[in-house]
Symmetry: C2
Subunit: 215 residues, 2 copies
C-alpha cells in the first residue's frame, strides 16, 4: 500500500533550511552543514554523483539514505524547490538536477502560476506542474506510484502543508548535531504529530539523530 | 577540577518548560511529560522519593540520572526555581523540596530582591541568597564545591544566562520524544555552542535522546 513519506534535514535547534538563498546557491547558506552526513554516504555518492568507486560512509546514515531512495513511485515538490520562484520568467527551466534528475519517477510540482507542459527528462523523471489542492495532487501521484510510496520532497513549507493536513504516514528527520540559530523553523504548527504517529530515534556514527514519526 | 554542569529537559520541538505555572503546579503543565523518563528511573526514585524497593527503570536513562546526582559539590538556581517569585511575601519560604531537599550541598539562589539570611536544611542542603554577578556567585559556589562540580540547576532562564556567558563546561539535554508546541524555547541565542563544545547523542530505551555538549 502506498505510504506518503517525507524526509527532512534539521539542525538540533529545529531549523530545516537556511538563509540567503541565491540563484548560484539555491539551498541557502549552511545547507551543506545540514546535509553532510547524507551526502557523504556511499549510497548518495553512487546514486546522485554516479560514483562507483565505493567511496563514502556506510553504517546507519547509509542505511537511511538507501531507504530514502527505495520504494518511491512518485514525488511531489513545491515550486520553490523546483526553482520556479528563482527563475520565474524562463519557460525552459527544468530544475536544478541536470538532464538526468535523480528521481527516476513522475515528479509533481505544485505551482499557482500558469500551468506549464510536462517535461520528460532522461532516466525516468517527468516533471508535471499542478495547481490543484494538495489532496488532489496526492491522489494523482498515488495513482502514478502504482503501489509504491509517494514522497513529498520539499521544501519545508510544502512538507508542513502536507503534515498539517494529516496526509503524511512517515516523517524522517535527519537531525544534524549543529546549531544554526536562523532559517526556517520546522516545528511551528506541528504539535500533536507525536500523538498520531509513533516516534523512534537512532543516533548514527556521524552523530546525526534520525527521528522517525510513523503512523 | 570543578566543571560547571547543566542538565535540562526539553521536548523535540525545543521547549524546556511549560505554561500555566501556579502555586499548586509550580513547574507548569506538561512538566510531567518532559520528565517522565528521569523520574521513572530507579536512581531518581531512590534518591528523591526514598524508594528502596528497587522499583524504577534501569538502563541508559538511569545511568544518566545517576551521573546527574554524582559529583556535585554546590548548586546554583534562579529565584523562580526556588519559588521566590511565587511566594514573594513569605520570609519563611524554604523552597519546594520539604525539610530535606535532595541537593545535600550548598545551594546559591540568585535574587535581585532584598537579601535573606541563609537557610540550613536537613541532609546537608543550605540555601544561600545572592544578588551579585553570576560570575561572582559561580566563584563562590566553585570554592564551596571543594573540587567537585557546580551544577546550574535552572530554571531555563538562569541556565541560558550561564550558557550565553560561556561559563558552562557540560550541558546535558534530556530530549523527550514529544512535541509541546508551547512554553519556553531553549535554543534562542545559543547558536555557536556547537562550535565551542563537542556534541554527542545517545537514545535510551524510553526513546529519550540524551544530547551532551561538553567542552
Amino acid at each position: 500500500m502506498t505510504r506518503v513519506r517525507i524526509d527532512l534535514f534539521t539542525s538540533l535547534d529545529g531549523y530545516t533550511s537556511t538563509t540567503n538563498h541565491a540563484p548560484d546557491n539555491p539551498m541557502g547558506e549552511d545547507w551543506g552543514r545540514l546535509t553532510t552526513a547524507h551526502i557523504g554516504t556511499r549510497t548518495f555518492r553512487k546514486r546522485v554523483f554516479g560514483d562507483t568507486t565505493g567511496a563514502g560512509t556506510t553504517g546507519i546514515d547509509d542505511s537511511y539514505t538507501a531507504s530514502f531512495f527505495e520504494g518511491v513511485g512518485a514525488e511531489i515538490m513545491g515550486a520553490t524547490m523546483f526553482g520556479l520562484h528563482t527563475f520565474p520568467d524562463d519557460p525552459d527551466w527544468k530544475g536544478w538536477w541536470g538532464d538526468q534528475p535523480p528521481f527516476g519517477v513522475p515528479v509533481y510540482v505544485l505551482t499557482h502560476t500558469a500551468p506549464r507542459p510536462s517535461i520528460p527528462m532522461q532516466g525516468g523523471t517527468t516533471f508535471h506542474f499542478r495547481s490543484g489542492a494538495i489532496e488532489d495532487v496526492l491522489a494523482e501521484a498515488t495513482q502514478a506510484a502504482g503501489g509504491l510510496d509517494v514522497r513529498v520532497g520539499g521544501g519545508v513549507g510544502t512538507a508542513r502543508d502536507f503534515l498539517r493536513a494529516g496526509l503524511v504516514d512517515e516523517l524522517h528527520l535527519m537531525v544534524a548535531p549543529i546549531l544554526l540559530g536562523r532559517g526556517n523553523r520546522l516545528w511551528d504548527d506541528l504539535a500533536g504529530l507525536d500523538l498520531t504517529h509513533k516516534v523512534t530515534s537512532e543516533v548514527s556514527e556521524s552523530g546525526t539523530i534520525h527521528v522517525t514519526f510513523a503512523r
